[in-house]
Symmetry: C2
């Protein structure tokens, strides 16, 4: 014990944490002793004694994908501003821990609150999570505060942009019927897409929808699928495509280049996210504030942890933007 420096354990505790009720000289003495012995309080014991861990947990299915990594960075920003630590809980898809084991994660008592990214629906109602302050990002469930972009609006803006450019045959890449996790983002974007279409008195055409995930490889495959449907005649391709993510759009552009389909002359492509790499592809995109979603979620969580108050709009829906670059233009002349 650093109390070999003349004082009691309690005083050490107070001194090291700058609590009131310790004279400057005493505090100084304690500090010096601690430094000398290389003593640092055990955050673990402190957490046990205090009843809270000063740690928040982030549970997410992926941590390295751009969107997730960026949200986490935002969370991290505000969390460390508040002097809290951050634990990462992989879960679901590539996360290792199966969803059924989630209870076993025993988040209880290790973290004071949790940020849930793209949580599978069954988790959102799981016991552990309901006993802890939690806010979700990118997905939402009644009764749980959340922050996300307005995905319907995202789809609407993307399609509207294309429509205003004069396009009429617009493909939509993103639906995922095999979605085991109940993410709604692609579906909501599709809803917005259809709304814009109808507003222009067009009918959604199933033959212009292709199932993909969010990854670039799927974008390449999707264009191939469209080419097949058009019997490999560029002229029979839709004149534009909205992809639910920039990565997807990038895949489309890459595939287009290989097959001699010119972007944007033959095909306009618009993505979603404003991914870090989007500008280097001159990609037109519907942007969403990503770091901000993380920051905001962390701040809402902070508030929830300390005041216990639920945020007023239960879920905060951020507005997307439109960034026009060179991957979209009017439809090709010959159609």
């Amino acid at each position: 014990m650093a109390k070999l420096a003349g004082v009691s354990q309690a005083t050490v505790s107070r001194a090291l944490r700058d609590h009131p009720g310790v004279t400057a000289p005493t505090r100084e003495r304690v500090r010096r002793a601690a430094a000398e012995l290389g003593y640092a309080p055990s955050a673990l014991a402190a957490a046990l004694a205090r009843g809270r861990s000063n740690t928040i947990g982030v549970v997410a299915p992926w941590t390295s994908r751009w969107f997730f990594a960026t949200v986490i960075e935002g969370v991290r920003d505000v969390v460390s501003d508040h002097g809290y630590d951050l634990m990462l809980y992989p879960i679901g898809p590539d996360g290792g821990t199966e969803t059924t084991h989630f209870e076993a994660l025993a988040l209880d008592k290790r973290v004071d609150g949790v940020i849930g990214l793209a949580l599978p629906h069954e988790l959102r109602v799981a016991g552990t999570l309901r006993r802890l302050p939690i806010v979700t990002v990118g997905t939402s469930t009644p009764g749980i505060p959340g922050v996300q972009v307005d995905d319907t609006e995202v789809g609407y803006i993307a399609t509207k942009h294309l429509l205003e450019l004069g396009h009429r045959r617009i493909a939509f890449l993103g639906l995922d019927p095999d979605d085991r996790y109940g993410f709604r983002v692609a579906d909501d974007r599709y809803t917005g897409h259809c709304a814009a279409l109808r507003e222009a008195t067009l009918r959604p055409d199933p033959s212009l929808v292709v199932t993909t995930g969010f990854l670039a490889e799927a974008g390449e495959a999707a264009l191939e699928e469209l080419m097949i449907r058009a019997d490999w005649r560029t002229a029979d391709l839709p004149t534009a495509v909205v992809a639910v993510s920039d990565e997807l759009a990038i895949g489309v552009i890459h595939a287009a280049r290989q097959w001699g389909v010119r972007v944007p002359q033959d095909l306009s492509v618009i993505g979603v996210d404003n991914h870090d790499m989007a500008q280097f592809f001159d990609l037109t995109t519907v942007s969403q504030p990503v770091i901000e979603q993380g920051r905001l979620a962390a701040e809402i969580l902070w508030e929830l942890m300390h005041s216990g108050r639920m945020p007023d709009p239960e879920v905060t829906r951020l507005a997307p933007g439109l960034i026009v670059r060179d991957s979209t233009a009017g439809p090709r002349a010959g159609i």
Copy 2:
């Protein structure tokens, strides 16, 4: 207490952890009671009592950049396979916590070991870290186990490839004289670059070196710098450039496109990493195993934590590869 289910606390503890010395019926009874009360052991208290936290910490200056996010994913893979949890400690550059506050992070006792990514040199010798099992990734210090690519080899391979294609005027993008953190990777890659040059009886030319970080924006600026040095005459540009990261290379390619410099006809570009996006730029690159570095580091740490043995080669240096795509070709005819 779940012992309201008929048994003592000790038995609960044993039963829930599948310890020997508990009859099947008892174990079952305990489990049921726990499930009913929604009881989960406090990992915090367990850690305190046992003396270890079953948690490892990752300290890194960035967590969302591709390289870092990917390494972390590798770490996470093996860590969760072992049933350990993972804490993220931002540090340095964008990390929020200043390096001088590092001791205050009080990693002590919260984590059983740490993985240090791109640690600034002064941290690598800091007290806290020296008292904990630690392995570094991407950078190394005598006395501390580490894993990284062979950066000299990286530079050598990149330049050698260009040389074999017939290039003689090769620019190098990456040195960072303003490097406050003591990262050596760019310098080591430059060393390899020079070695390849000399092997071909060429002399490194300072006018062909430009200072950049690792980011794409810097790549754009770097090409501009080279253009200026060439008085905006494409023909006076070097015929090839090696960039210390793919992002940098992508920036170069993008800038080239805007200025009418054709890649690879006018300028060959080679990057490093085999970044997720590299293939979509048809970028030739020197690849490095990134997830594997995270996995390997975590495994070495695991070994270190349990056997106390230092790994045999103190630092494991992974071999880079070469992935030839379409951003490199022979030098342009007219020179």
